[in-house]
């Protein structure tokens, strides 16, 4: 899997990147973050606030903010938009019933002015489950055709097996780094 190897030591002078991880509850956000950190993914409990992890990735210091997605918590997401350089939206690809909910919440974020410059990574999670929607089907359902200038990408993954998780993170970090650290490398 090799995910542990992508996490290196955090050095004091490293460039920082702030990532916000959101999506409906039960999408697999906490599982994905744990997988990235090489931790046991078999036990997660619902996030009743935020879980911040700082980790180093390809020379950057990442601060990942995983914020709970329960209905009652969603109205607080906006408090975490400031200074967010990358938005990671996680979808439970097996939850067809709440796809409409998922679409509505995502579209709300896309019109947020404070997130206008943020790179967007969409994780089509739980691909290890048979019958999971493909990323093409999800894209259609989410109606993501008016994205304008935004840098965005959808990546299929599984927080449980780790498939695709590192690839998604690599892309989002590279995209942000190219944008904000272009001149002082």
């Amino acid at each position: 899997m090799g995910l542990l190897t992508v996490i290196k030591k955090v050095k004091a002078k490293e460039k920082e990147i702030r990532l916000l991880m959101v999506g409906l509850d039960n999408a697999g956000k906490t599982t994905i973050v744990k997988n990235l950190c090489g931790e046991d993914v078999s036990k997660t409990s619902p996030t009743l606030g935020f879980e911040i992890k700082t980790l180093a990735h390809n020379g950057y210091k990442l601060n990942i903010w995983d914020v709970g997605g329960q209905t009652t918590l969603r109205s607080y997401w906006r408090n975490y938009y400031e200074q967010t350089e990358g938005l990671i939206w996680v979808i439970d690809s097996t939850d067809v019933r709440r796809l409409e909910d998922c679409k509505r919440e995502l579209h709300k974020l896309l019109v947020e002015e404070r997130l206008a410059g943020a790179t967007l990574l969409i994780f089509a999670n739980k691909q290890d489950v048979s019958g999971a929607q493909s990323q093409e089907d999800l894209l259609k359902a989410l109606e993501l055709d008016k994205m304008g200038e935004r840098h965005w990408r959808i990546v299929s993954c599984s927080g449980v097996t780790g498939e695709g998780v590192g690839k998604g993170l690599d892309w989002v970090v590279e995209d942000i780094a190219a944008r904000i650290y272009m001149f002082n490398n």
């Binding site: 009743l48 935020f50 992890k53």
Partner: protein, 184 residues
């Protein structure tokens, strides 16, 4: 009352505490703190709220020892295994909950001293905390490389490594804790 900018200028440990326990108007409570070696995941320190000393017992000790209960509850004495001084990278985990109100902007500044001189400073902004939420913060730090001489010196000087941790909401100091480290 001190602001973040002022505590960032402190060059030595404070004499006493810079605020009182009642300044914590937000019901912020620490539930768990753990220190691990990053490379082996070995836990070298773990405290959770359920292990916290009983206040009624503390008041007895306090009257004997001369320091107030207020001071005792915000002083932590760490006894860390001496290998800690050779760890390359350390992972810390802090879990806390907040009261029924919003916390607009939460920030921690921690200053470490050895024999009264500033060693290093940590500064982290949590930002907004959701009412009645439980939050965790896991951080990874590179540790300074210590020579054998420095290691021996630190082992031989218990409680000379100290820290002051200040917690702010906005510019307002709401908590101040002190820690003493010994390596055994």
């Amino acid at each position: 009352m001190y602001t973040p900018d002022e505590v960032l200028k402190f060059k030595k440990p404070t004499e006493g505490f810079c605020c009182s326990l009642s300044d914590n108007k937000y019901g912020i409570e620490f539930l768990e703190f753990e220190i691990r070696d990053y490379d082996t995941s070995k836990s070298v320190f773990k405290i959770s709220k359920s292990d916290a000393p009983d206040l009624s017992k503390l008041s007895l000790e306090a009257t004997n020892g001369g320091s107030s209960v207020e001071d005792l509850v915000r002083t932590v004495r760490y006894k860390l295994p001496k290998e800690f001084l050779k760890f390359k990278t350390v992972r810390t985990l802090l879990k806390f909950c907040v009261g029924p109100g919003e916390v607009p902007s939460f920030r921690m500044i921690e200053r470490h001293y050895y024999k009264g001189e500033l060693l290093r400073n940590y500064d982290f902004t949590f930002g907004f905390c959701i009412p009645s939420s439980t939050n965790t913060w896991e951080a990874v730090y590179d540790m300074p490389v210590n020579s054998q001489e420095q290691v021996d010196d630190m082992i031989g000087s218990p409680n000379e490594h100290t820290s002051d941790t200040f917690y702010f909401v906005g510019d307002k100091l709401i908590m101040h804790n002190k820690a003493y480290f010994q390596y055994v």
